[in-house]
């Protein structure tokens, strides 16, 4: 059942890099805004770069910075780490859905590579897998590239916050969601998707209305997957 022909090549990595290009303005703007927020909150430059490059998960970094307060104590630390876990809970599911794709690759390669897992390279890798791509460079190349761009983009934001004071003016805030919406299109195959997505959307909306925040991604996704599992075509 597992595909034994999964390979890794520079060509695949390069294709991954190229495929991220359309979303780079969105990634750079978001990274720059994080730099600005971190500077306003009083983080040192080193602290900003460390958090941005090691955690490498935009939404959770912003939410954690909402909680951040000087002087730090254990309560704030636990809250920041906890909220990071809550916002990033969806990564459990994203990683799970990559198992059939990356399963044949040896663990000493996949586990370091999973550090670079984001919604972006997950989605790119997956959409290409559905088209018959078996070179996992598409995942690795896009992941490392977006990480590098993300790591650098925080710097101008930190030192010159006013450069992109409001990404909304240029529509940069819709770049990432628009990319997701576009990549959702080829995933639609028929009735099973329709039902599964309606269930996911319904549960996500109710969760969002009831508890707000990022839990809706997790509950909606699980509900949609269960609906998909129990539907025969």
């Amino acid at each position: 059942m597992l595909d034994k022909n999964v390979s890794l090549s520079l060509k695949g990595c390069a294709q991954g890099v190229l495929m991220c290009v359309p979303v780079l303005p969105g990634v750079i703007a978001l990274g720059a805004v994080f730099g600005t927020v971190a500077a306003q909150k009083g983080l040192t430059f080193l602290e900003t770069v460390l958090m941005n490059s090691l955690v490498f998960a935009g939404a959770s970094q912003f939410v954690a910075m909402e909680i951040y307060n000087e002087p730090l104590n254990w309560g704030i630390l636990i809250a920041m780490v906890g909220v990071t876990g809550a916002v990033n809970m969806r990564m459990l599911l994203i990683g799970a859905s990559l198992r059939p794709w990356l399963g044949p690759v040896p663990g000493y390669q996949t586990y370091p590579a999973l550090f670079f897992l984001t919604d972006l390279n997950w989605l790119l890798a997956l959409s290409q897998y559905n088209k018959g791509m078996r070179d996992w460079g598409i995942y690795l190349g896009s992941g490392v590239f977006v990480w590098a761009v993300w790591s650098v983009s925080v710097i101008p934001g930190y030192f010159a916050g006013s450069l992109i004071s409001d990404p909304k003016t240029f529509g940069l805030d819709v770049v990432l969601p628009a990319f997701f919406a576009a990549l959702l299109v080829p995933l639609w195959k028929g009735k099973r998707q329709t039902v599964s997505w309606l269930v996911a959307g319904g549960v996500a909306t109710v969760t969002w209305l009831l508890v707000g925040g990022y839990w809706s991604i997790f509950t909606g996704a699980i509900a949609g997957a269960i609906a998909g599992a129990y539907l025969d075509d």
């Binding site: 359309p22 983080l43 040192t44 430059f45 080193l46 602290e47 958090m51 090691l54 955690v55 998960a57 959770s60 954690a64 951040y68 730090l72 104590n73 630390l77 920041m80 780490v81 990033n88 809970m89 990564m91 459990l92 599911l93 799970a96 859905s97 990559l98 198992r99 059939p100 003016t169 240029f170 529509g171 940069l172 819709v174 770049v175 969601p177 628009a178 990319f179 997701f180 919406a181 576009a182 990549l183 959702l184 299109v185 080829p186 995933l187 998707q193 599964s196 996911a200 959307g201 996500a204 909306t205 969002w208 990022y214 991604i217 909606g220 949609g224 997957a225 269960i226 998909g228 599992a229």
Partner: protein, 106 residues
Amino acid sequence: MIDGAFSADSMFLFVVLGMTAVTYALRAGGYWVMGRVPITPKMRRGLEALPGAIIVSTILPIILQGGLAVGLCLIVAAAAQIRLKKEYIAVFFAAAAAAGLRVVGL
């Protein structure tokens, strides 16, 4: 100034380490678990349905929060993708639509 810029509070380092560890555990955890449970046909159908469900559940709260303008932009993106099948054009149209809608105050 330079000394200050390249210093880091030790407590803050614990925060970063904690956030990094939790996030990596989530990144690798789901993948790890799926390698240790037998994948039944039902589970495979669920895994196949997961990506679309994740995207829908990610986008919907963004629309609910962003209002009409964001919703319209994402419809523009999806429509462009259906017609032209090029992600970068879809993204460009959506961003242009967002910038335009904000000029008119939506």
